[in-house]
Structures are given as C-alpha cells and as structure tokens.
C-alpha cells in the first residue's frame, strides 16, 4: 500500500483556507512534542504558553499591542507580495518610521499640540517609504534584487538607530543609558481600552487593513497589482507599467511598516531605544503568507503570531525556557504552512498496488 501525491485537476479552494489551519494545528502538535521531550508536563506547558497569556482583559490588550504592528507590516508587505515584489526589509522600514516619528517628538519637546501625533505618524510613513524607496529605485533603474537590498538595509537602519540613541539623541539626564528622553503626553498614543496598555495603534491597524482590502479587491490599481503577480506577461500585454508595480509594492510595505514603527516608539515604550522591535518586520512575512495575503487572514494570522510572542515571553518567565522558543514556533509555523500548501495543488491517494502498469503482460525487453 502506498500513499501517492496526485495532481489535482484544479487547485482546491477549500485547501487554500484549510492549509493555514492545518499548519497552525501541526505547529501546536509539534510544540506538544517539544515540551514533552524537554521534560515539561505538556498540558501545563501548553496552558502556560497559549492560554495563560490571554486569560484576562490585560492579556488581550497585550495581544492587541503585538497584533497592531504585525498586521500593519503584513498588510503592507502583502501588497508587494501580490505583485511578486519581495520586500523582506519591513523591519528596517519600521525602524526608520520610529526614527522619523520619534525624531519629530524630540524636535518639539514643549509642544502640546493635538497635531503632533498625526505629524509623527505622517513622518513615520514618509520615513518607512523613503527606506523602501531605495530598493525600489535600485530595482527599477539597475534591476538590483529587492530581496537583498531591502534585507541588508534593515541592518543599516538598526545601526543608524543605535548611532542616534548612543550619540546625538541620547537623553542628557539619562545617566548615560542609550535611550532618548521620554516623549511628552502629546507625543504618546492614547490608551483605547481601560485597564490595559492597548493604544490607538490597534484601531489605526484595523483601518489600514480595511483600506488594504478596498485597495486590493476593489481598486483598479490593486487589480493591476494582482495581474502583475499572477501573470507578468498579461500585465505587459495590457500595458500595466512594471516599474509602477515595483514602486507601489515597496512603498506600501514601507509606509505601513513606518506606521508600525511610530506605534512602537509612541506606544508603551514612549522613547527610542537601541532596539525598537522584537522582529515584527520579519514575523510579518510569515503572517502575510499564513494570512493568504488577505486582510482578514492577516488579522487572524497576526493574532496567532502575537500569541506566539506572548507565549514565548511567558515560557521564559514561568518555565525557564530560552527566548529562542518563539523563533522555533515561528519557523515551525512557516515550515508547516509551506508543506501544507502542497495539498492545494495535490491530493493524497492511497494506492493498493504498485502504480501504473500496462495490464496484464509482464514481458519487457
């Protein structure tokens, strides 16, 4: 008896949605095994990892704090991914957004104007877009690979932020710690849910997801992006400019990541630190694909990813597991998603005998 992978006549629409669920389930199952092998009571570990972090309102607020940057970055990336523009540098664009938005707050230390926050967000968008514009320019003018350029710029952005907080922007009253001064109230995002730390970044993220849906599914430009991603030849045939798709794809990712960066700086942190994000920009790549590049899917996938972050922190504190466990789960999730996606185009069939023969002769030359 064999199990055979057989091509489907057409891709299974059900599997497109089942596959992420299957991947999530298999990731949890793997976690179960990992916990057991490490010598923990798997059920207790499971509870500590996946349930305890969100068994009260405060926990849900913490979840939202992480959902906002993840879904923002993933939505922006999804626009590019749909057009086969592979922006891997959302982490750097997020950092630049935080630098520009935070820089505005630092430049106006005494302002209590209600325009400061919108200004910071706008500055964050501009900063993220500017960082994404570099790979876009190099791609459209020199055909430089946007994957490499955007990825490497992430490290440049991180070092630039370090330079600022260790150097010119360091808080003179900060006892020499590498951090800027705390932002004033007018430069901090307001709390939207009492009793939690959840701030206005979450509603902004939801608005961007809604906007993303309208853009991708209802606008002609979004349609052009989808055509460019599905069939480059057809986009060329219809006269849709490829350069334009590259620019839109990268700028959307950069702008959304920039907002996420401002949300981090002007959120619970309230200042700039040498490291502003625990890898949201990279995790968002996984979120975008687990969410099938669709806004609703991205929201659900970013909740799962946020839970992995929270669970990782909880496991560190309560079980004494290393923080790398978060990365292990992220990687496992992507691994299982890519594997499950095979079932979109193939199906498993149980074969009872050796496959394929011209019955019934056995003679071969």
């Amino acid at each position: 008896m064999w199990v055979k992978l057989e091509p489907r006549a057409e891709p299974s629409r059900a599997m497109i949605y089942v596959s992420p669920l299957l991947a999530a389930g298999l990731t949890l199952a793997t976690g179960f095994v990992v916990f057991t092998v490490l010598g923990f009571d798997p059920l207790a570990a499971f509870h500590a990892f996946f349930v305890a972090p969100i068994d009260d309102l405060y926990g849900w607020g913490e979840l939202g704090l992480k959902v906002a940057p993840l879904s923002l970055c993933a939505m922006g990336l999804a626009v590019g991914f749909r057009a086969n523009v592979w922006n891997i540098g959302a982490e750097g664009q997020l950092t630049l957004g935080a630098i520009c938005g935070g820089g505005l707050a630092l430049a106006f230390p005494d302002t209590e104007s209600a325009w400061l926050l919108p200004g910071m967000i706008a500055a964050g968008v501009v900063g993220g877009m500017a960082w994404a514009a570099i790979p876009a320019f190099l791609k459209t003018h020199f055909n430089a690979n946007e994957i490499l350029v955007s990825l490497m710029l992430t490290y440049v952005a991180a070092l630039f932020l370090s330079y600022l907080v260790f150097g010119p922007w360091r808080d003179p009253q900060g006892f020499g710690f590498p951090e800027t001064r705390q932002f004033q109230d007018a430069a901090t995002l307001p709390i939207v849910l009492d009793g939690t730390r959840l701030h206005a970044g979450m509603p902004i993220a939801l608005a961007v997801l809604a906007l993303g849906w309208v853009f991708m599914m209802r606008s002609f430009l979004g349609y052009q992006i989808r055509v460019a991603g599905l069939a480059g030849g057809a986009a060329q045939y219809a006269g849709f400019s490829h350069k334009r798709m590259v620019w839109i794809g990268l700028l959307a990712g950069g702008g959304a990541a920039g907002i996420a960066g401002v949300g981090e700086a002007a959120g619970p942190i309230g200042q700039l630190l040498p490291s502003i994000s625990p890898g949201y920009g990279f995790a968002a790549i996984i979120v975008a694909f687990v969410g099938r590049l669709h806004p609703v899917g991205i929201l659900l996938a970013s909740m799962l990813m946020a839970l992995l972050y929270l669970g990782g922190e909880a496991a560190q504190m309560n079980l004494g597991l290393p923080s790398a466990v978060t990365g292990v789960f992220q990687g496992t999730l992507l691994f299982f998603l890519l594997a499950s996606d095979v079932l979109i185009n193939f199906r498993l069939r149980v074969v009872r005998r050796a496959p394929g023969r011209v019955a019934p002769t056995e003679r071969a030359t």
């Binding site: 006549a9 002609f220 030849g233 057809a234 045939y237 006269g239 002769t361 056995e362 071969a364």
Partner: protein
C-alpha cells in the same frame, strides 16, 4: 537496416483497447491501432482528440491505464522512451529538444548511445543525411539554424538509431510548402525501406497525399480507420469533427480607406541572443482591409508584434504611425488608448490571466469602456461586458465567474477576440488567431476578422497558416529572417509564390507600388 518481413505479415505495432484518463478528461478510450511494416499511417484528429497522449504511450512517456501493446507480434511493456528506442521506436516531437549553444553533432551525441567519438558521429550523420536527402552540416551551431533545419536534426537523430517505427508529430506545421515536399520524399523513401511511420496531423490534404491508411480520433475514441486516398476531405473532416466543415462569407475585395497603421523603417536588435533582429520593416494597413503576414515562426514575428503592440517601444517615434500620429515611443496602454487592440498568440499568461475569472479578464484591456470610476472598479459594468463577449462569440463556459483556465483553448480564444473586438477598435493586430482552435471556433474567429474589416477597421493578421491567410486577406506579405517582403494582392499571388518568399527570396523594395504612390 535489418531485413524485414513482407507487408501484410505481422503488424509492426498493434494497440488493443488502450485507455488513459486524466483527472478532468478521458484522453484515450479503448483505442485500437494497427501499423504494418513499411506503412505510412496517419493519426488524424483535432486538438484534444487524444493523438498526443496516444503517441506518448507508444513512446513510453506516459503509461496507459489499460490496454495492450504488441510489437512485431510480441506483447510488450514500454516503461520509458529509452526502452522504446531499444525496441526500435523513434519519435520526432513537435517541440524540439535541442541545445541552442551546441553543434548539430554534439546535440545528436547527447541522445545516441556509444557516440563518444564526435568525428565518427559526424561521418555517420553525413551518411544518413546523404542517403535520405536531408542536408545537414554536423558542425553547425543549432541557434543559427532555421526551424526547418532543426527539424532535420531531430529527424537525423531519430534515423541514426535505425528505427523500425518513426512517430512524426505535426511535422509540417513549421515548414514552408517546398520543405514539406522534401520531407514527404524522405518519408516515402524510409517507408520503401520497410520502416513504418506514424504521421500525426490535422491537415487533410497532406494525409490524402502521403498516407496509406489513417486512424481517425475524436474525443479519445477511434471514429474510423480508412484509406485516406479513397476519402474526400469532407468525409475525413466529418469523421474528425463530427460534422461538415463550416463555411463563411468573405465580402468584396476592397481597395481600403486611409492608412491607419504604418510601419516606416522599423529596425531593431533582438532582446536576446536567440531572437531575430528586425531589419528595415515597411508596412501599411488601410482601414477596411486585412493584411496578412506569412512566415515560418521564429523569423521575427514575435519581435514585430511586440513592436506593434507597444510591449517593446521604439527609440524613434517615427518608426510606427497610427493614422498619421507617431507612436513608436508610446507604451502598450497608450497605443490602446488610440484604438489599437491586439489578440496575442499566447492565450494563457498573456492574453488572459489563467487564475482570474472571465469577468476579471475582461477588465484587463476593456477597462477603457467606463469600467473604472474614481480609481475603483465598477463590477456591474465589467460583468455585463463579459456577458456580451460570451453571448456574441458563443463562448462555452460556466458563466463569467469561471476561471480563464477552465475554458478550452478555442473558447478562451473566442472570449479574448470578443473582448478585443467589442472595444470598437480602429486597428486590430492578431497573431495566429486560430492556432490550436477547433474548426468551428476558427471559422467564427475568421468571420469576426472579416466583420471588423467591413466596419472599416485596419486589420493585420500574422499567421503560419497559409490557407487561412489566403482565405481572409486582401494583401499578403512574408516575413523571413527579420525582413518583410512587399505586400501583394491575394488575387495576384499564389501559395507557391508566398512559399518561395518564406525562404527569404523576395524582391527588394520597401513597399508595393500601390503603397508607395499613396493610393490604394
């Protein structure tokens, strides 16, 4: 070659009850086929009738679900092409599998066993090519060869293995009429020596001329085994498509109106090493006329089409004019804004997006028809336009929400033609509009082209199908090695003359006298 038993003895190849099902379609359904030694046996059928699947089963590329194969009377199992070759089965594919950067001899060495010594192999190649009248230079690099020459490489490679059965898959689709004559002589010589030939085609006249017997397939089943010399073209067609060939009306030959599409001295280097450079191309298409461009594929058609559609822009705006306006530097979208529509040769991936619905595919180029407002798509408009395409061109599909890839080639082509023609164009450019399309759809598409002409549109058709061009065109030109011949009135030329021109032998001169003087 080894001595062979006399004809009428054991069949060289006998298939019994061969069946093969794919997830969506039964490609072969209980097929019986008998090929005698030294016989040229035609397998006739439309695209999708199951010819290619059957040949792949014989050549060991695919395995049948059921059925038996007997080779020289012995039941056999053919698991892979190497085994088929050891039995003595050779195949010349429609798509060539040659490395362009290698020489003829090197390419053949890759496929022929014990051929380490290239010089000895070159001598064997020369022997075989002399014996069967297939001129071939073993030292030539493949990328410098024409399509016809590449086919000769494939044929010689096949013959070097001393086959007893040669499968030829649509061999004449890439050949000029004169080259077809040559090929037929070679095949007859082979058959006289006792080698059997399975000749796959849908060209009735060729089969009547060449073949001793014919097995006709329709929808995966055998609908007849006949002697084609005793049949008429229409009786063969009836067996092949299940009904009589449709006929359609061509309007009066016309002088045409004003010049709509003018190409003036288009010269361009190819994008890739293996492309064709365009060399000083001059062409004019008037409103209300159909101009055809004949030629064997790979002679610059792709490059010319990309230059006309705007997918590749010119450096000089004056190289291409639309109705007096210089458009050489405008992109595809801007040229469409000026009234150009284009039916490309590749349907999926260029003319349509496989994984999008027909409605979404209508939007691809017809968005100019008021389908976008404030940057947002007006889905109602899109759907009603797609419905009109489906109705007007009788597209068989599961509604306009069906994915483009779920349609058969002919139906998708009708949809694309509908989408382009219903945009009320001023200029139509169509590449191989009926290639791989069933006979009924082909007639509908040709009729639509003629209606466009009647509506005063300038129509340019680039096709390898000479019969088609002679059927619908007012004037015909030939493209060969990146040069375009003068366009001749269809009534003043012949298939023989155009065939001769296809080898590159045509009178010099940028345009016909009629064009040069500016009157139609």
């Amino acid at each position: 070659m080894s001595p062979r038993p006399p004809a009428a003895a054991t069949p060289r190849l006998a298939l019994t009850g061969i069946s093969k099902a794919y997830p969506t379609v039964v490609a072969n359904d209980g097929i019986d086929l008998v090929v005698l030694p030294g016989e040229i046996h035609a397998v006739l059928g439309e695209n999708g009738a199951g010819k290619s699947t059957l040949m792949k089963i014989i050549y060991g590329v695919t395995k049948a679900d059921a059925g038996e194969i007997a080779w020289n009377g012995e039941p056999v199992r053919i698991d892979n092409p190497a085994q088929a070759r050891r039995l003595g089965i050779g195949m010349v594919f429609q798509q060539f599998s040659l490395f362009e950067t290698l020489t003829v001899a090197e390419n053949i060495a890759l496929a022929v066993e014990d051929s380490r010594d290239l010089d000895a192999l070159a001598r064997r190649i020369e022997e075989v090519s002399a014996r069967y009248g297939i001129p071939l230079d073993p030292k030539q690099l493949v990328h410098s060869q024409s399509v016809g020459e590449r086919q000769r490489v494939e044929i010689v490679r096949c013959l070097l293995q001393k086959p007893e059965l040669v499968i030829m898959d649509e061999p004449t689709s890439v050949l000029a009429p004169q080259a077809v004559r040559k090929l037929f002589e070679t095949l007859r010589l082979l058959a006289r020596e006792g080698c059997s030939i399975l000749y796959i085609s849908h060209r009735l006249d060729e089969i009547k001329e060449l073949c001793d017997s014919a097995t006709i397939l329709r929808g995966g089943k055998v609908t007849g085994t006949v002697d084609p010399r005793d049949e008429s073209a229409s009786s063969l067609a009836r067996m092949m498509i299940g009904k009589a060939l449709p006929v359609f009306a061509h309007g009066e030959a016309d002088e045409g109106g004003e010049e709509r599409l003018v190409v003036a001295g288009l010269t361009r280097k190819a994008d890739t090493q293996f492309g064709t450079d365009l060399d000083d191309i001059h062409l004019s298409v008037r409103s209300g006329e159909i101009v055809g461009i004949a030629g064997i594929s790979g002679n610059g058609q792709q490059e010319l089409l990309a230059a006309l559609s705007g997918e590749r822009t010119s450096r000089e705006a004056s190289e291409i004019h639309f109705g007096g306006r210089q458009v050489g530097r405008l992109g595809a979208a801007a040229r469409r804004d000026l009234g150009l529509v284009f039916v490309p040769e590749e349907r999926l991936g260029r003319g349509a997006v496989a994984n999008m619905s027909l409605a979404d595919n209508a939007l691809l180029t017809a968005h100019r028809l008021n389908m976008v407002r404030f940057g947002l798509i007006r889905f109602g408009e899109v759907r009603s336009f797609a419905d009109r395409c489906v109705d007007r061109f009788n597209v068989i599909c599961g509604g306009v929400e069906a994915d483009a890839k779920s349609l058969s080639g002919g139906n998708l082509q009708k949809f694309i033609v509908g989408r382009e023609f219903l945009q009320e164009p001023r200029i139509v450019v169509a590449a191989q509009p009926t290639w791989g399309v069933d006979v009924g759809a082909a007639a509908a598409i040709r009729q639509a082209l003629i209606e466009m002409r009647g509506a005063g549109v300038a129509v340019l058709v680039i096709s390898e199908d000479l019969d088609e061009l002679f059927e619908i065109c007012d004037r015909i030109a030939v493209i060969a090695k990146g040069r375009l011949s003068p366009a001749k009135r269809t009534s003043e030329t012949s298939i023989e003359e155009i065939g001769l021109w296809m080898s590159g032998l045509f009178p010099e001169g940028p345009a016909t006298p009629a064009e040069a003087s500016g009157v139609g």
